[in-house]
């Protein structure tokens, strides 16, 4: 497919039911941080964004949500694909974005650069969709907080070394702060701003 027509293909095949299934996975994962959900959607966004992250975009984004993209994603056919399939516009500033997409291997900006919401309206913050390599095999992290009975453990590969520190700063601003949707392959894990992350000794 040529670059010109890439933007018009690859949406949901059954938009109503696929979007509902992806949302329920996201809702369960957001309500139970550390739970890994599967996204079995038939979405094919332009590279380098992966199908699962594309499915999240089409499930949550529309003309009401401006999106911030990394330089690599902004240079791809993705802005056109999002415009055609979701009606979503691209935000030029991170502060104005309701959602941000960061592909695998791209630099993860500090969370404080994105919209944090206000003390009165903490919901007006950016939700980051970050693609990583894997949820296993990296530095072990312990998760506690709402949605977690005692403690959950993940060991993500592909997050920067500074991630626990970024997150601790994000957690400190509660109720302001960003929420994270991590995507690895067709699996997804959510970190709402309430989750407390501590680095476990390996």
């Amino acid at each position: 497919m040529s670059l010109d027509t890439l933007a018009f293909a690859g949406g949901f095949q059954k938009p109503v039911f696929e979007a509902q299934a992806v949302f329920r996975t996201l809702m369960d994962c957001m309500a139970r941080p550390g739970t890994i959900g599967d996204i079995a959607a038939t979405v094919t966004p332009p590279r380098p964004l992966t199908p699962a992250a594309g499915a999240v975009a089409l499930t949550l984004c529309d003309h009401d949500t401006s999106i911030w993209l990394t330089p690599a994603l902004a240079a791809s056919a993705l802005p056109g694909w999002l415009a055609f399939n979701a009606g979503a516009a691209i935000a030029d500033e991170r502060q104005n974005a309701r959602f941000a997409f960061i592909e695998k291997g791209a630099m993860l900006p500090n969370f404080c650069l994105f919209a944090q919401g206000t003390q009165e309206y903490p919901d007006r913050s950016t939700t980051l969709v970050v693609e990583i390599e894997s949820f296993e095999g990296g530095r072990p992290l312990a998760l506690t907080g709402p949605g977690i009975r005692t403690e959950e453990g993940i060991a993500p590969v592909g997050l920067p070394d500074m991630f626990p520190q970024f997150w601790a700063e994000n957690r400190q601003k509660f109720p302001r702060g960003v929420d994270l949707i991590l995507v690895a392959g067709d699996r997804v894990l959510c970190l709402p701003r309430t989750t407390i992350i501590s680095v476990k000794e390996a």
């Binding site: 139970r32 499930t59 009165e120 903490p122 949605g147 701003r193 309430t194």
Partner: protein, 294 residues
């Protein structure tokens, strides 16, 4: 063209853009437990006050594999429950049940089922007034600021005035709670009897207020603490007698007037719980006795 193709609704009535808007609000609500997320509530084919908020939340999360239960004051067979259940059968062709343990989504008006909810279940509350501070401070700009600054002294003053006037905290329903040590939240007009069930519940709890255009949530395993004082600790209602039909103790009972000579009985507000117990041979003192009737 088949005429049945013409006027059909989108699955679960709402259009997809509305669902996305509500879904985004739900994710934010889960991320900030107890905080009221504004949302663009739609007009529904039922009046405000009939659960339009709960219906919109249910419509946004409902899928073809879900099993829906709807209760109204604990009962599956009262007007609001019957009409909302019929609504979702019509617009989503979804499976429905009255059994608490079979349901994946339970929409409720003012009760939490007696049976312990599990991790696979979502409880959707219909909320009339989501703002716990509204009757103390009518201005939204002010209550927003009070939540922002975590300034909840006024609520404690209200509870204290209860004690000064009545000798005890007289609030019996919509009893304010603090969620995860941060936001004071209205648990909707459930009896305070149900407040302890919200604390570290395994099920996700979502709250929808249609007229007031707010959605809020309590994730599973989240602290929900009823406000009280050290010398006046929070207490739930107790009943002198067990349920007249199934003999259940430690459940919430409704008073039913039997005649115009002062006759009355107390029965389980949760009809499914009561029927389940009756089917398992539990009998209260007014239970229908088949052998005696024959």
């Amino acid at each position: 063209m088949n005429t049945t193709d013409l006027a059909t609704y989108n699955f679960a009535y709402l259009d997809e853009q509305t669902k996305r808007m509500i879904r985004r609000a739900i994710l934010k609500a889960i991320a900030i437990p107890g905080y009221q997320v504004p949302f663009a509530s739609r007009e529904m084919p039922m009046p405000y006050g009939w659960g339009t908020g709960g219906v919109q939340v249910t419509a946004a999360i409902l899928g073809p594999d879900d099993v829906l239960k709807v209760i109204d004051q604990g009962a599956d067979d009262t007007t609001n429950a019957v009409s909302i259940r019929a609504f979702f059968q019509k617009v989503a062709n979804v499976a429905v049940t009255t059994k608490t343990r079979e349901a994946t989504i339970i929409q409720t008006r003012h009760r939490i089922p007696e049976e312990k909810l599990t991790a696979g279940q979502t409880l959707v509350y219909q909320v009339p007034i989501p703002e716990p501070l509204r009757f103390l401070e009518p201005r939204e700009t002010e209550t927003r600021k009070m939540h922002a600054l975590e300034e909840y002294g006024l609520m404690h003053v209200k509870l204290y005035e209860d004690i000064a006037k009545n000798g005890h905290i007289a609030t019996t329903y919509a009893y304010p709670v603090k969620v995860e040590g941060r936001y004071v939240m209205d648990p909707s007009p459930t009896p305070k009897f149900d407040n302890p069930k919200m604390h570290r519940s395994e099920a996700l709890q979502l709250f929808g207020a249609g007229r007031e255009k707010r959605i809020y949530a309590v994730p599973p395993y989240t602290d929900v603490v009823s406000l009280d004082f050290e010398d006046h600790p929070f207490e739930i209602q107790t009943f002198d007698k067990p349920c007249a039909l199934c003999g259940a103790k430690n459940v919430y009972l409704d008073e039913v007037v039997l005649d115009d000579r002062g006759g009355r009985m107390f029965v389980c507000s949760d009809t499914d719980h009561c029927e389940d117990r009756c089917a398992n041979g539990h009998r209260g003192h007014l239970a229908y006795n088949k052998e005696a009737a024959e």
